[in-house]
């Protein structure tokens, strides 16, 4: 059975068995054999062979049409369409094999997958926790932003975080790994990004209100489709001096104080830069994200958020960072009502 699948796929002279112009990643990987007790439907192989030929001929036509097209997005669409019915590609997609993001068909599949679940979750949480009007007026994500704290390698937090969830302070004490999955970068070019992590829920006692603090800020980060994340190796390179990006605010974890609100929102935004920028004169204690975006002509392309509150690991992290003991807020009763 296994042999028939492979033989019928790679024996012909059609476009789908020719890998001189096509990537090797479009080949089928790790085919699982049937269970011993499994019986295939009758005559499925004969029907499959003729179906394969029909689809292959159609794909060849689409490839020819794609050669005449000049526009990048249209060409990408056609190249994706030409491979979308290829059984090898379908097998790789449906069976959890590693997908090569540089191939249009896989990229379009991943984009659709992102739009059908992760993007909806993200936008639901940004709206639900009022992140969007409180920080930026709105956001239209085109980049999938995933965050993970890699210094904890076992346990429940060894995964990409879900937007909106509560994270403990011992987890967020080290800078995160941030993965930016671009979908409309058709030629795998390097693009410049800047990333900020802000906390809009820091109490401001003078005004009896809240202020925004900047907890992490990176600019001129050059990323492409394959080189897509800000991870430990890049942090190390930055510390060595072989700079790849500039950090205008080094990472400082969000450490909520006792009774400072129900929770504090950690909002991470990713901006695409038109050119290299030089960020200076940043007031990290009272940060205004809207003027920051306007001053440096940035366009928000993605983001994520999580929530934090005072927990038992806060004091340890404070002492690690050499910070003073946090404030404790009490309710002060006054003879007259506040409102």
């Amino acid at each position: 059975m296994l042999r028939i699948f492979k033989r019928s796929l790679n024996s012909g002279k059609g476009i789908w068995s020719n890998f001189s112009n096509r990537s090797e990643t479009l080949k089928v990987q790790n085919i699982k054999p049937h269970a011993a007790t499994y019986h295939s439907p009758l005559l499925i192989d004969d029907a499959f062979k003729s179906a394969y030929e029909i689809l292959q001929q159609e794909s060849e036509k689409i490839y020819q049409r794609a050669q005449t097209v000049e526009k990048d997005d249209l060409k990408d669409k056609l190249l994706s369409q030409a491979e979308s019915k290829n059984p090898e590609v379908l097998y790789n997609i449906q069976n959890g094999n590693d997908l090569d993001i540089t191939q249009p068909v896989y990229r379009n599949h991943l984009k659709k997958q992102w739009e059908n679940y992760d993007l909806m979750i993200l936008m639901q949480r940004l709206e639900q926790f009022k992140v969007i009007p409180d920080t930026l007026p709105t956001i239209q994500p085109t980049v999938d932003v995933k965050v993970k704290f890699p210094h904890i390698t076992n346990g429940e937090f060894n995964r990409w975080i879900v937007p909106g969830e509560f994270l403990p302070s011992f987890l967020t004490k080290q800078p995160p790994t941030i993965k930016l999955q671009q979908f409309d970068n058709y030629k795998n070019e390097s693009k410049l990004f800047s990333i900020v992590l802000i906390n809009p829920d820091e109490p401001n006692l003078e005004t009896n209100s809240f202020k925004t603090t900047l907890n992490f800020g990176v600019s001129n980060l050059s990323l492409s489709l394959t080189d897509d994340s800000l991870d430990v190796t890049k942090y190390l390179k930055y510390e060595n001096g072989s700079e790849e990006f500039s950090m205008f605010k080094s990472y400082e974890p969000i450490l909520p104080e006792v009774n400072a609100g129900d929770y504090q929102r950690a909002c991470l935004f990713v901006f695409e830069q038109p050119e290299k920028i030089n960020v200076d004169q940043i007031n990290a204690e009272d940060f205004d994200i809207r003027s920051f975006v306007n001053n440096y002509n940035l366009s928000p392309v993605g983001g994520t958020m999580w929530r934090q509150k005072y927990d038992r690991s806060v004091n340890d992290v404070r002492s690690e960072y050499g910070l003073s003991k946090g404030r404790v807020f009490h309710r002060v009763r006054k003879p007259f009502p506040l409102i």
Binding site: L2, K32, H34, P41, I44, A51, P87, Y91, Q94
Partner: protein, 124 residues
């Protein structure tokens, strides 16, 4: 031999006509109508999807051709009528629409037509 232990013998108090209705109800029940979900292996699922994709491509192509042919037929009817406008008598004759329905003798073609395909001395 293994002998099945029967605690109660099921006694049916139903008479024949009631039993008939019970049988009718069981023939209607959903569990009989709903076939089991076919569990295809990963490979066979891809093969099935490929066959479906090819069939879809083929039937789309067929439908497109049919639509194109119908359009051409329509245009030729239109052009013929436009040409007929030069001959008013013929044009009026062609414009008359016939109210009669299709004849009942028109049959849907079958793979196995009757032994006597045409009745020559047919009388209505």
């Amino acid at each position: 031999m293994f002998k099945q232990f029967v605690r109660f013998k099921s006694i049916s108090n139903t008479n024949a006509s009631t039993q008939k209705v019970v049988n009718q109800l069981s023939a209607l029940s959903a569990s009989r109508k709903q076939p089991k979900l076919i569990k295809l292996s990963a490979q066979d699922l891809i093969k099935h999807q490929t066959i479906q994709n090819a069939w879809k491509l083929y039937s789309d192509k067929l439908a497109r051709e049919n639509r194109k042919m119908l359009k051409e037929q329509y245009e030729s009817i239109y052009n013929a009528m436009e040409e007929l406008k030069q001959f008013p008598e013929l044009f009026e004759a062609a414009k008359d629409d016939v109210k009669a329905p299709f004849p009942l003798e028109m049959r849907i073609p079958t793979d196995f037509p009757p032994n006597q395909p045409w009745i020559y001395n047919y009388e209505k």
